[in-house]
Structure formats: C-alpha cells, structure tokens
C-alpha cells in the first residue's frame, strides 16, 4: 500500500515535468472555450509523440503497456503545470479492445490513440436519452454494406470527427437490447449532415447532432458481432464514467489551482463564503485524485467493466459541480473580462450530471447492481 512513486515512476514524472515546462500549449481546460477545440488535436499528437499519452494501453495499438497508475501521474503533472487535460477517449479504446476483432483493433485503434484520426460517438437520439436501448437509428444490410438512417444527438466533437462510432438497430424483430449493433462510420460521405449545438456556456465546438440519411458503413466496419451493440455501448459508457479514463483529475486540479490563485491575488474582494466554496473545491478535487489512485491501482489486478463506474461518475460530478460553484463565486465578484471565463466553467459543470448517463441513472445502477436493491 503505497501512494508514492516507484523509482521508475519518479523518473517518468521528472521527464514529463521537464517536457511540460517547454511544451505547455496554454489552452483552457476542455469544454470551457472554443479555443480549446482549435488546439486539441495538436495537443493530443504532441503529448502522444513525446511518449506521454496512451501509457496503459497495449503496445500493439500504439500504447506503452505500462500499469494504469502512470495515468494518475500524467494527470497530476498536467494539473500542476496548468496544462490542458489529456484527451478523453479511453472509453472508445476500452470498448474496441473488448469487443472489436483483431482486424478492427488493428485498423482503428492506432489512429485513435495517436490522435491522427478523430472520433465521435453516436449513441443518444432525440427520443432515446436515458432509455438508450429504445434508439431508432437503423442499419440495413445491402450487400457488403449497411445503410444507416437516423438522428443522433449530443454527439461530442462531431464537427471535427473523421469517424463516428454509431449504435444502430440491425434487427427490429428481437428485444430492444438485443437488436443493436455498432459501426465505425466515416463522417466525410454523402448522407451525413452534422450541425453544432450551442451549449449554455456558449461553446459551439464540442456538442453536435448528426443526421444519417443513407450513409453507408462497410460490413467489415461493424465493431463486435451483430447484436453485440448494447454490450459494447455498456462497456463504453461504463468507462466514460471513470475519471481515471477521462483524465479529469487534471481538469479539476488545474481549475482549483486557478481558483486559489485568483483569491490570493486580491483577497480583499472575497468573502468567507467564497473562501469556503473554494476550500470545498480543493477538498473535493483532492478526494477524486486519491479515489482515482485507488481505482487505477485496482486495475493492476485487471480492468473490470462493472458498475463501479457509476460510483466514480457520481463522485466526479460532485467534484465538478463544487468546482463550478466556486467558479461562479469568482465570476460574480470579478466581473470584467474574466467574468465570462469563470461563468463558462460553472455553466459547463451543469452538464456533468447529465452526460454519460444522468446522475439519476447512475444512482439506479449503484442501488440495483451494487447495493442489491430490487429494480423498481
């Protein structure tokens, strides 16, 4: 039981810290400004090329095959340097590693990992949110292809994506969970229209909706077997709920450091209530850092894809929203040019209890899958 670095981990930390001193792109945290999305791909590629991304993923997809705990070191150092968090796409990688065949893994995963191929995720629909399995997008077999028709929404990064992981109904005759399959679909083809959605914080580059009207996917681009789409989706979302997979410890660490520095810069402008909110943001963010250390250590026994992600998602949401409330305080006090920066951080925090499964869905899962309470 040791939170300290091993000699190898300490050496890795030193080299990352030295690299960050020269290569911090100075971007805001993701999701709080469109500026981030302009710089995200170069940041991903730079981090990868320098050897500081994909640390715990297998070598044959471009990873380093290191223990997951290295990801915790990356997050701590990114936060300490005030650098943007690492790109959040581990859930796609985990989904494809678990459900994709060798061909799919070989063709798609290296590009996802090294940041040369951009991906988005087409799961939710206007009429299929929490009840994802009721989705209506169809994929109909035509020779060696599937023809895809439907409407996806809350599709993060759809405007910059080369590929979309689409969940579609391939068998309308069976029970709703069993008739779904997953496809890798190229975004630059006729039959796809994507539109940005403007979030309440004004960001336009993160969120989108995608209409598929006769777009095609090769049959060989199905991820997993026909009918395995629901299982793949559950693997993906279980990891999408894990701060350790998302790299969000860095996100909150950076935000908290900025909040503390802001209060210290002009202490006379803030009240005890503001200090209290920032102190709780500090405590919450530290809790999540340590919780991720525990979760990533557990992965030394193997990656599990179970309901623990719902526990982590709720903890992460509480942290994000505590940080958000502190940011709202600072926004209110400071005004001027920085008012909007902090306000955007706060407003984005409201999405955290919805994205990746609402907090209410997470509580259902914790209650029934972990606490053993009967399904309602």
């Amino acid at each position: 039981m040791d939170f300290a670095d091993s000699p190898d981990e300490a050496a890795f930390r030193r080299s990352l810290r030295a690299w960050l001193a020269e290569n911090n792109p100075g971007l805001p945290a993701s999701s709080t400004a469109d500026e981030y999305w302009d710089g995200q791909a170069p940041w991903h590629q730079a981090l990868y090329d320098a050897g500081f991304f994909a640390l715990s993923w297998p070598a044959d997809i471009g990873g380093h095959g290191l223990p997951s705990v290295y990801e915790a070191i990356v997050d701590e150092e990114l936060a300490a340097a005030g650098a943007p968090p690492r790109p959040s796409l581990g859930y796609l990688v985990q989904g494809m590693l678990r459900h994709g065949n060798d061909d799919v893994r070989r063709r798609f995963l290296p590009g996802i990992v090294n940041g040369r191929d951009r991906w988005c995720q087409g799961f939710s629909e206007p009429d299929a949110g929490s009840d994802l399995a009721s989705l209506r997008t169809r994929a109909e077999r035509r020779g060696d292809e599937y023809v895809i028709t439907g409407h996806k929404v809350w599709t993060s990064y759809s405007d910059s994506a080369d590929w979309c992981l689409v969940l579609a109904r391939t068998d309308p005759a069976v029970a709703k969970h069993r008739g779904l399959s997953a496809f890798a679909v190229r975004m630059d083809q006729p039959g796809i229209e994507q539109r940005p959605l403007k979030m309440i914080n004004g960001v336009t580059r993160e969120f989108g909706e995608v209409v598929f009207d006769g777009a095609v996917a090769r049959a060989s681009d199905m991820i997993g077997a026909p009918g395995e789409g629901w299982k793949l989706a559950m693997t993906v979302v279980s990891h999408e709920r894990e701060p350790g997979e998302l790299g969000y410890v860095a996100r909150y660490g950076k935000a908290v450091n900025e909040l503390v520095a802001r209060l210290r810069a002009e202490p006379e402008r803030f009240t005890g209530e503001h200090v209290r909110d920032v102190a709780w943001a500090v405590v919450e963010a530290e809790m999540l850092r340590l919780h991720v250390c525990r979760r990533l250590s557990d992965r030394l026994d193997g990656v599990s894809h179970g309901p623990e992600g719902s526990v982590d998602k709720l903890l992460m949401t509480w942290v994000e929203q505590a940080v958000g409330h502190a940011a709202l305080d600072v926004s209110t006090v400071t005004g001027g040019a920085e008012e909007d920066t902090w306000l955007r951080m706060y407003l984005y925090s409201r999405a955290q209890s919805v994205m990746g499964g609402t907090s209410q869905i997470q509580r259902n899962l914790v209650a029934t899958r972990i606490l053993g309470l009967p399904a309602s």
Binding site: M1, D2, F3, A4, D5, S6, E9, P67, V69, A72, I73, V260, L263, R264, P267, E268, F270, T271, G272, H274, V275, R276, V278, A279, W280, V282, V283, E284, E286, M287, L288, L290, H291, C293, R294, L296, S297, D298, L300, D301, V311, L314, L315, W318, Q360, Q362, R363, N364, V366, A367, T368, I370, L371, G372, L373, P374, A375, S376
Partner: protein, 349 residues
C-alpha cells in the same frame, strides 16, 4: 504507486471484521450486555491491536497507521463498544516521548481540550489540568501535555470511569482541575513537528472510524429497505429510497479513498504535509458521515426515530469521531490556512 492492500493487510482486515461480527453489539439492547462487552474487550486486548503504535526495536511503531486505520474502520463498522482510539493515540504519545509502554493491564487514553479539537495542555506554572478523556472504557489514566519552554512534556492524569456521552459506544470522562504527574521515563519533550504528526495520525484514525461507521450505516439501511414493505413492495424498490442509499454508498466510497491516503501519509509524509492530508480527509469524511447516518435514520422511517433502532448508534458514534481533533469547520480552516487563503477576509470567519 500501488495502493492495493498487502496480503497481510487483507488478513488483518478479515481478522478484525471477524472479531467485530462475533462480538460487537447487533442491537441497542446488546449495548447493555456486559458479558458480551467484556468478551469484546478481552478479545481486543488479546489481539494486540491496541499496541500497534508501541515502538519496536529502533523506535518505529510496530505497525503503520494504515494497519491501525484498518482496525479502526472495522471497529467503526460494527460500532464496537471497546477502547481502541484512546490507547492507540496514548501509545503514540509515549513512543514520541521515548517513554516506556503503558502496562497492558491498565490501558490509558488521551485527555483532550473541552472542545475535543486538540490535546489538553497545562500551561507553565499550572499544577492542575482539565479536559475531556475520550474512549475511557476500562482505562485508569489519560495523557496530556504540560508546556515546558518551547516544547511540551508528557503528563498523566487519573481518570475514573467515564460515561456514555453522545456516543453510546465510547464513553468520555470530564476531568476538572486534576493534579497531573510527569510520565516516568519520558526522555523527550514533544515539539511542534511531533504534535503535527500525532494530530495527523489521530485525524486519520477518526477518518477510518467514520468510514467504518458509514459502511455500517449503509448496510443497516439497505438491509431494512429490502425487508420493510409498503404499498405491497419493499421500500428498497422505490427510486427515492434507492437514490438516497446510492448517494450514501458513494459518499462512503469517496471517504474511503481520501481516508486511506491520510493513513498512508501519517507515517510517510513530513508532519506538515501529513497534517494537511489528514485535515483534507477529515473535512470530507466528517461532512459525509453525518449525511450518511442521517440517511440511515430516514430510511428506517418512524422506527429510525426510536431508541431501539441501531441507526442512531452509528450517527452518535460519528459525532464523537467528528469532534475528536477537530470537526468539519476546524479542518476546513486548516485547509484554507495551508493554501494561503487564511488572510482572505479572515478565512472562513
């Protein structure tokens, strides 16, 4: 970094859990069962776990704070009405002062200030010492400090009995103007770093007890929710009840992670950093524990508001663990001061 428990730590947890499951009170009525409580006391005395912080050869403690926290958590889980926190913290004071071990047939505890937020201190020239001895079941004396130059000497006051306070499982005893004596054989005065390190250990153990308390409370409430029926179904099938219990469980999980770090830090980081880790953890765990135990009371409905329901035993135990070495506000103040925010409008005041 690898924060998984070692094989020895897993075995220790299993042994502590077994002892608690066998001998800790299962009901409020069992709290009054003196024969059972005596067996629990004897089993804990026989386990040697009260001596985890006694020095081994070379002066380091027999076991780390992580092991002590494992025992504390399991005792908290079962609301075990036996003494552990007090003798453990007293042994740590003796170890730091280079004093011989307390005789094993006369366990001792610690004397805290009346608000329980720190050790009681007799000022220069005082002949008497006041405070509150905590966790006093079966103890005859309590350790406190007497200021001496720029440090503190370890002193001892007699403690008679004690009675249940807000916590029904761990009695406390008020000490008013008691004469104290220097602890024989204490060869070192305790400096600021010693007291920071000791406080870090104490906070880490109270966090562990709170984590155990939360686990016990969640388990109790879930058990009830799966048997109590209304509208023809168990109340645990209602989302409103499920969501309260899910939040309680998640709070306990977050607390477990932050408390684990505090326990590790207590023996590993420099005293000021260990104290910061402990303060961060205590603020989080203490805030969570009250909410979790209140949920356990609420899920029991009217029954939860009766003396016979065990839920308030967990809630009350959380109160004492919260107060010892500082509650939520005290520890949030520590967090604020350490981050240079103390001067911002006088911190939280």
């Amino acid at each position: 970094m690898d924060v998984r428990p070692s094989a020895e730590q897993r075995a220790l947890r299993e042994a502590a859990a077994r002892l608690v499951d066998d001998l800790a009170p299962k009901s409020v009525a069992e709290l009054g069962d003196a024969a059972r409580a005596a067996k629990l006391d004897a089993a804990l005395a026989g386990s040697g776990w009260r001596e985890l912080r006694v020095p081994a050869d070379g002066g380091a403690p027999l076991a780390s704070a992580v092991e002590a926290a494992i025992v504390a958590e399991e005792l908290g889980r079962g609301a075990a009405d036996t003494t552990f926190l007090g003798p453990t913290l007293a042994a740590e004071l003796r170890r730091r002062a280079g004093a011989p071990d307390a005789p094993s047939d006369a366990p001792e505890t610690v004397l805290l200030r009346p608000d329980l937020a720190g050790l009681a201190v007799a000022e220069d020239g005082d002949a008497l010492c006041s405070g509150v001895a905590v966790d006093t079941r079966g103890v005859a004396s309590a350790l406190a400090l007497a200021r001496s130059g720029d440090g503190h000497e370890l002193v001892s006051v007699p403690v008679a009995g004690g009675s249940p306070g807000r916590d029904l499982t761990r009695p406390v005893a008020a000490v008013e103007g008691a004469p104290f004596e220097r602890v024989p054989g204490a060869v070192r005065r305790l400096g600021a770093a010693d007291l920071d390190a000791w406080t870090a250990l104490a906070l880490a153990l109270t966090c562990a007890d709170l984590v155990g308390t939360m686990r016990g409370a969640v388990r109790l409430a879930c058990s009830y929710a799966t048997v109590r029926e209304q509208y023809g179904v168990t109340i645990g099938s209602f989302q409103s009840v499920q969501h309260m219990l899910a939040d309680a469980f998640v709070s306990a999980e977050g607390s477990k992670s932050i408390a684990l770090h505090a326990a590790w830090a207590a023996d590993t980081l420099p005293p000021d950093k260990a104290l910061d880790a402990a303060a961060v953890a205590k603020a989080y765990c203490a805030r969570a524990a009250r909410a979790v135990c209140e949920t356990a009371v609420q899920v029991h409905g009217g029954i939860g508001n009766t003396w016979e329901c065990f839920a308030h035993v967990h809630l009350r135990r959380a109160f004492l663990s919260t107060q010892v070495l500082g509650d939520v506000g005290t520890n949030l103040e520590r967090v604020v001061a350490r981050r240079g925010l103390g001067g911002v409008h006088d911190g939280l005041r």
